[in-house]
Structures are given as structure tokens and as C-alpha cells.
């Protein structure tokens, strides 16, 4: 028994990733506790207080995502509320909510755990695919030390990593031929952020390919997959049904979005709105939101149908390539035709891009770098980087919060070279670079899928 207790830490200590994980978590917590992303913070703060007051996740309509992230938030915030007064989680300064490091700790912990687990899964996938431990270690480090991944998880605290984790789990279970669990984890992904629903054609294509044209086996596998999806959906929605919050959930997902959405731009084809003179065309399109949504759905449906057909009719069954390039193709297709794509969505592509860099084409690392810095620039130029430091200024008093407000205001009003404002110049440069990279990667991934479809 004593031996076992000593053995466990020594196993971890001897693992190559151990010191990176410890150091990485330490840096993330040190920075993450004193930084936040002002546009998002009030949603998590108000949702948390509403949950603790018994209003549920959707009670007041601040939370407009499917419930899985809400459940994870509930778990951590509830544990925190047993030790700390939740009303001390934040306070308002000049109408700006500033949350305390205690709250940052509670809310960012599940995100940092997911980020770490994504890195670990990536490590295992590359190890399985390449049988090269160095490449596997490289994959982990490329993910975990990526500045944009760090910024999105530790500073912004976006829960995309959690959703990405479920998606990766689902795809891995599929390759391991655990179709039931693949269905369950995919539904967990869908119920975290709706995005993974676009992976259904890819996953169905993979199931068909993996079933080796045996009709009975194919139907059985598809049945298992859908049963997994349905059971997970039921389990996730059960608390909302028991609590009579299903109606709230429905309108929060649709009603709140209907009220708040309408923006276009970012890392999609509508990036044109960030370019002078072209913005008018896009603003004209914005007047017809239903046409934009119709065009988006048709384009995505068309692209996914092509992907599905290519996978099921491929002569050479290369599941690893299907998995990697199919995922890149799906994600980029969805991004390009969605009216508004915020930069945090780009971290979804990174694991698949890292796999393809380490397994097939190291030149793709340039595109990964461009996407990383373009996304970072886009995010930081929205409000400037200084406002992220408000918790640091407020809790440790090492900075003057008043000065941060003034610097941010000066930055927002600073004149630009191509636009009236400098920040619009930054948005234009970063989104143009990002969308060019995405277009290249879309064509590249399609080429890869087509090449193994027609090559025996």
C-alpha cells in the first residue's frame, strides 16, 4: 500500500509532460486569476448568482447556450459558495463589473482542465498515429504553449475547450469503434455549444467506412451511435424538465439569440465588412438576415454533402486522414459561411492542424502561426488589452483602474490609417489574414480528401 502511494507520484514525475503541466497550470492560474474578458464576464457572474439563488441556468435569460457548460459552472460555483459569500464574487466600478480572483478561480478551473485534457488527448492521438513519442510531445506543446490557446482559456475564459474536448472524445471513440460512446460524447459536445452538430455527416461517413460495407453491421453501428446521442440528450435535458425550466431553455437558446444577434464579420467571408468601401455591401446584406441564414445553410449543407459522399465512396480507407482533414474541412466550411465568427472559434481547428503538421505536412505550421497571431490581434484590438487587467488593478492595487479606463478610451478613439479608428485597421488586417489562411486550408483539406478518395 505504502509502495503504491509513493509509486503514483513518481510515475507522474517521470512523465515528460509533468513539468510542463505543472508549470503551465501555475502560469495559467497566476495570470488567469487577475485577468478577464470584459464583454463576457457579466454573463458568467450573473448566471452564477442566479443559479445559486435557485433561478436555474436559464432563469433570467443571461445564459444563451445549451446546458452542459452551465452544469459544469454550477458544480464549481456551488462548491465555491460553500466557503465564500457569492455576493463577494464581483463589484461594479464605473458601471464595469470587476470580478474577484475567487470567482475567476471557480469559473476558469473547468476550462483549464479541459484545455489540459485536449492537450493530453492530442498527445495520445499523435502517439497512436505516428508511433513517435517526440512528435507526440511536440503536439502537446504546440497546443499547450500556443499563445492564442493560452489567451482564450486563461485570460478570456471561453469554454470552447470543453466543447472541443467532447468533440475530440467523440471522434476518438469512433476510431476506436465505440459507436455508442461516440454518440454520447458528440451529444455532450452539441449540448455545450451547438457547433458540433455539423460533425454528424463526418461521423456518419466514418461509421459507414468503418463498417466495411457489411449492411447488418453498418445498421447496428449507426443504431448504437444514435442511441448514444438520444440517451445523452435525455440525460442532459432531464434536470431542465424536472425543474420546469425547459421552456426557459428553449427561449434562451432562440429568443435571447434573436435579440442579441445581427452582427456580422470576424473570421468568416463577411470579413469584408472590415475593409473600407466594402463594408456598405455587407451592411446592405445585413438588412436581409433571413437571406444570409438561407445562404449559410445551403452552402454548409452542400459542402458537408460533398464531404460525406467523398468519405463513403473513397477507395482507399484512410481513417486518420478522414478524421483530420474531414474535421478541418467541416470547421472551416462552417466558419466561412457563418455571419459572425469570433476568433475564439479558431482554436477548434488547432488540434487537427497540429496532427496534420506532425503527421503529413510540416509546412502547415506557417498557417497555424498566421491563424494564431491573426486571432490574437483581432481579439486584443476589440477593446485593447488593458481592460483585461482590471481585476489585477482592483484586487492588488498595483495598477490604477481609472488609468486603465482612460487608456482604453484613448485607444478606442485613436485615429487609424485606413479607417477612422485604429482598432478598425487592426480588425481589417487580422480578419483578412485569418480568412485567407482559412480559405487556403479549406482547399488544402478538400484536396487531401479528394486525393485519397480517388487513389487506390
Amino acid at each position: 500500500m505504502r509502495q503504491n502511494i509513493i509509486k503514483l507520484p513518481s510515475f507522474f514525475k517521470s512523465h515528460f509532460l509533468f513539468r510542463y503541466i505543472v508549470l503551465g497550470l501555475l502560469v495559467r492560474y497566476v495570470i488567469g486569476l487577475f485577468t478577464y474578458w470584459p464583454p463576457d464576464i457579466s454573463v458568467w457572474y450573473k448566471t452564477s448568482l442566479n443559479i445559486l439563488n435557485g433561478n436555474g441556468i436559464y432563469g433570467r435569460g443571461y445564459f444563451s447556450y445549451p446546458p452542459v457548460w452551465g452544469y459544469c459552472l454550477t458544480f464549481f460555483v456551488f462548491i465555491g459558495s460553500l466557503f465564500v459569500n457569492p455576493y463577494s464574487f464581483g463589484e461594479y466600478l464605473k458601471q464595469q463589473l470587476i470580478t474577484s480572483p475567487k470567482f475567476q478561480f471557480l469559473w476558469k478551473t473547468p476550462i483549464l482542465i479541459s484545455e489540459l485534457l485536449v492537450g493530453y488527448i492530442l498527445y495520445r492521438i499523435v502517439l497512436d498515429f505516428t508511433k513517435d513519442i517526440r512528435k507526440a510531445q511536440g503536439a502537446f506543446l504546440m497546443w499547450y504553449l500556443n499563445p492564442f490557446v493560452f489567451f482564450i482559456n486563461a485570460v478570456v475564459g471561453q469554454f470552447s475547450s470543453l466543447c472541443l474536448l467532447f468533440l475530440l472524445l467523440s471522434l476518438c471513440f469512433l476510431l476506436e469503434q465505440c459507436f455508442f460512446l461516440a454518440g454520447i460524447t458528440l451529444m455532450f459536445g452539441i449540448m455545450t455549444k451547438l457547433f458540433p452538430i455539423y460533425f454528424l455527416p463526418l461521423e456518419l461517413g466514418l461509421i459507414i467506412s468503418l463498417s466495411h460495407k457489411q449492411t447488418k453491421l453498418l445498421f447496428f453501428n449507426i443504431f448504437l451511435f444514435f442511441i448514444g446521442l438520444l440517451i445523452a440528450g435525455g440525460v442532459i435535458l432531464l434536470p431542465l424538465i424536472i425543474n420546469h425550466h425547459f421552456e426557459n431553455f428553449y427561449w434562451c437558446l432562440l429568443g435571447v439569440r434573436q435579440s442579441y444577434t445581427g452582427g456580422i464579420g470576424g473570421f468568416s467571408l463577411y470579413f469584408l465588412r472590415h475593409i473600407p468601401n466594402l463594408e456598405k455591401i455587407v451592411i446592405f446584406l445585413q438588412k436581409y438576415p433571413q437571406k444570409i441564414i438561407f445562404f449559410q445553410n445551403i452552402a454548409i449543407l452542400f459542402g458537408l454533402t460533398i464531404l460525406f459522399s467523398l468519405i463513403i465512396f473513397s477507395k482507399k480507407k484512410d481513417f486518420i486522414k478522414c478524421f483530420t482533414f474531414g474535421s478541418i474541412f467541416t470547421l472551416i466550411l462552417v466558419y466561412l459561411f457563418t455571419p459572425l465568427v469570433q476568433p475564439q472559434y479558431l482554436i477548434w481547428i488547432f488540434p487537427f492542424l497540429i496532427i496534420s503538421i506532425l503527421k503529413w505536412d510540416h509546412l502547415l505550421s506557417h498557417w497555424l502561426n498566421i491563424l494564431t497571431y491573426a486571432a490574437l490581434l483581432f481579439n486584443l484590438s476589440i477593446l485593447g488589452p488593458w481592460k483585461c487587467l482590471l481585476p489585477l488593478a482592483h484586487s492588488l492595487k498595483v495598477l490604477d483602474a481609472e488609468k486603465i479606463f482612460n487608456i482604453t478610451q484613448d485607444y478606442i478613439n485613436f485615429p487609424g490609417l485606413f479607417h477612422v479608428l485604429l482598432r478598425e485597421d487592426f480588425l481589417m488586417i487580422s480578419s483578412t489574414l485569418g480568412v485567407i489562411s482559412l480559405c487556403y486550408l479549406l482547399i488544402y483539406s478538400l484536396k487531401q480528401i479528394v486525393s485519397f478518395t480517388y487513389n487506390k
Binding site: K46, L49, N50, I51, L52, N53, G54, N55, G56, I57, G59, R60, G61, P67, V68, G70, Y71, C72, L73, T74, F75, F78, S81, L82, N85, P86, Y87, S114, L117, Y120, I121, R124, I125, D128, L162, L165, F166, L169, C172, F173, E176, C178, L181, I184, T185, F188, V235, L238, P239, I242, N243, N248, W251, G255, V256, Q258, S259, Y260, T261, G262
Partner: protein, 346 residues
């Protein structure tokens, strides 16, 4: 690898399920028990308020002498008609957030959205004035009920209807269908106020002008809407026996109530710079309606600060043999505890 995937999946499955379980099990942070006693020819309400959390909670209690119970709420919105000084997203935000706020406050009356055609029928129906509240978040009445030629709103309010106006200048615009050629031709403009009260009651302020001082009722209900842009003139409001609910500055209030016949009109400052303020307006409207201040006057007001798990016993002696509403609520923006108790004195 398979084994590790299982562990990772199980970890998140367990966390999510536990979170879902906690969501189901979290109870309201405050409970109240009331007993109505008739003793020595006095009507007494004895109550116990208990904090069920390990942190301090603030609770407010008001007793109102009321003349009517809950009314049904109707919100006017017609996507085919013009909007003034507001966009579609902000109107939808007001509507959506109103629904949730009423649900949380357990205001169980009917809440319905009506279009321009149904609004006309609604205003012409003699049963609706005394049982309904009409909310107009669109910045204008539609032209089938209100223009320089006709006004169906005023008779409805005079018969006992309650109207809540949230956006732009009250009665200034008359909205037409978006494809109509007559657009912008029949706005009553500043005459709109005179149609209703025979005098101008709106103070014109700059857009971002905010009230600084809280009115008494506004402080009790913690109303937050601050803009005075097209707010009510307090002096005129007092002359017309109105009530000040919002913030005050420059003789203007951000939320004012002005009686008209048997009914009343509640006017907000009218400026909604961001969607955040749609939410603020929705919260304030739900506070005003569910607290009962539109149906009566506050007779008793008490404030409690409850230590962790503390219980407080207290009582109120009812002033007369009338109908009362006892409204107890948690003093927090994220509150969940709202209790409405109707009492009839012997």
C-alpha cells in the same frame, strides 16, 4: 488510449450530472411563513423570515393598500410597422426579458404580444381597460389607433387602462406600415402630449442625461433606469396627482406615473442606448407591476438584513379593514425570492 478516453469521459460525465443535480436541488435562499391573526379588533400579520444560506441576505417588505388584483399584460409589437428611436433587437430584448422577469417574480397573469390589428380590437373592447396593462416598447402607436386625426388610446386609459411607454417621446410619432407611402406624414409630434393631458408634460433633455437622485418608491423597488431624455416633468406630474418612480434631475424623472381618468400612464425616459438598457427597462417594468405600486399606496415598508441561517419574527398591524398586498422580496438583482400575499382585513 481507450482506457484514458473512458476516464476523461467519465470525469466530465460525472461533473455535468452532478451540476445538473445541483441545479435541480438548489432551493430558494429565503423562506417566509405568515400567520394572519384577528386579536383585540386588530388585524395582525405575524411572519417569520428565514435565511437558508451561509451568507448575509437582504430582504425588503412592503404592505400596500390595493384596489385591484393582478392584471393581464399585453405587449404591442408588429414587425410590419415602423419603430422609432429603437431597433428590432432592442424591442425583442424587452419582450423576452419581460417574460422571464414575470416568470421569476411569479406574476402568473397572462402575458401576450399583440399586433396592430389586434391592438385596435383590444382598445375598443370595453372589458380590457380594468383588467389589462398595455406595454408599448416600439416608440410609437400604430396609425390605425393613433395619429393627428384619431386617438383610441386616451379613451381606453380613461376607462381604467394602464399604459406603459418605454421608448422615444410619448405620443410624438404615429407608426405606419413599413411599405406605406404615407409614412412620416401624420405624426402628432409635440401635440401628442396635449391630446392626452391638455398640456405638455415631457421635459426635453439631451440623450445621455441621467438622473442622479432616487425617488422614494424607486429606492424601495431598486429601479435602475436612469435616462431623462424624454422624461416626465415632475412639477406637472405632481399637479396631475402622479407618482415619481425613477431617478430625478433637472425637474425631470426617468420614470413617472401620470393618472388619466380612471387609468394611468407610466412614462420612461425613452432612450435605450444599448441592449443592456432593454433589459434594465424589462426588469424595472416587472418590478413596478409585480410589486403592486400601480394598484395602491405603500403603507408599510421594512428592510431586513439576515445573518447566515438567521430567522426573524416580526408583525404588522393592518391600518384598516381593507384589501392589502404584502410583497416580500430579496434585495438583489439576481434574486429569486418574491412572495405576494393578498390579505383582507376583518
Amino acid at each position: 488510449m481507450k482506457k484514458e478516453l473512458y476516464y476523461i469521459f467519465l470525469l466530465w460525465f460525472f461533473l455535468s450530472c452532478l451540476g445538473g443535480f445541483i441545479v435541480c436541488k438548489i432551493s430558494f435562499p429565503i423562506i417566509i411563513k405568515t400567520i394572519f391573526v384577528y386579536h383585540d379588533k386588530k388585524n395582525i400579520i405575524e411572519y417569520t423570515i428565514q435565511n437558508r444560506r451561509n451568507y448575509v441576505q437582504k430582504v425588503k417588505l412592503i404592505l400596500l393598500k390595493i384596489n385591484s388584483k393582478n392584471r393581464n399584460v399585453y405587449i404591442y409589437y408588429d414587425p410590419n410597422y415602423e419603430l422609432f428611436e429603437i431597433d428590432k433587437q432592442k424591442v425583442l430584448a424587452i419582450i423576452n426579458f419581460l417574460k422571464t422577469e414575470f416568470r421569476i417574480r411569479r406574476y402568473l397573469s397572462q402575458i401576450e404580444i399583440i399586433n396592430a390589428d389586434n391592438l385596435k380590437k383590444f382598445l375598443l373592447d370595453n372589458d380590457t381597460p380594468k383588467s389589462s396593462i398595455l406595454i408599448v416598447p416600439t416608440g410609437a402607436f400604430p396609425n390605425n389607433i393613433y395619429s393627428i386625426y384619431h386617438n383610441l388610446v386616451k379613451p381606453w386609459v380613461k376607462k381604467g387602462g394602464i399604459l406603459i411607454w418605454t421608448t422615444s417621446c410619448f405620443g410624438y410619432y404615429s407608426a405606419f406600415k413599413k411599405d406605406s407611402l404615407l409614412r412620416n406624414s401624420l405624426h402628432p409630434q409635440k401635440l401628442g402630449e396635449i391630446y392626452f393631458w391638455g398640456t405638455n408634460i415631457i421635459n426635453y433633455q439631451s440623450r445621455y442625461e441621467k438622473g442622479i437622485f432616487k425617488s422614494k418608491i424607486g429606492a424601495i423597488l431598486s429601479l435602475e433606469y436612469p435616462f431623462l431624455y424624454r422624461g416626465v416633468n415632475i412639477k406637472k406630474e405632481k399637479l396631475l396627482n402622479g407618482k415619481t418612480l425613477g431617478y430625478i434631475q433637472n425637474s425631470t424623472t426617468s420614470v413617472g406615473v401620470i393618472p388619466l381618468g380612471e387609468g394611468k400612464i407610466i412614462i420612461f425616459g425613452g432612450f435605450i442606448p444599448r441592449i443592456k438598457y432593454s433589459h434594465v427597462i424589462a426588469i424595472d417594468i416587472s418590478k413596478i407591476i409585480s410589486s403592486g405600486v400601480l394598484n395602491g399606496d405603500i403603507k408599510v415598508y421594512k428592510k431586513y438584513k439576515l445573518a447566515p441561517y438567521e430567522s426573524i419574527n416580526d408583525k404588522i398591524i393592518l391600518p384598516a379593514k381593507d384589501e392589502y398586498l404584502l410583497y416580500i422580496f430579496q434585495d438583489s438583482e439576481e434574486a429569486s425570492f418574491y412572495e405576494r400575499i393578498y390579505i383582507k382585513g376583518r
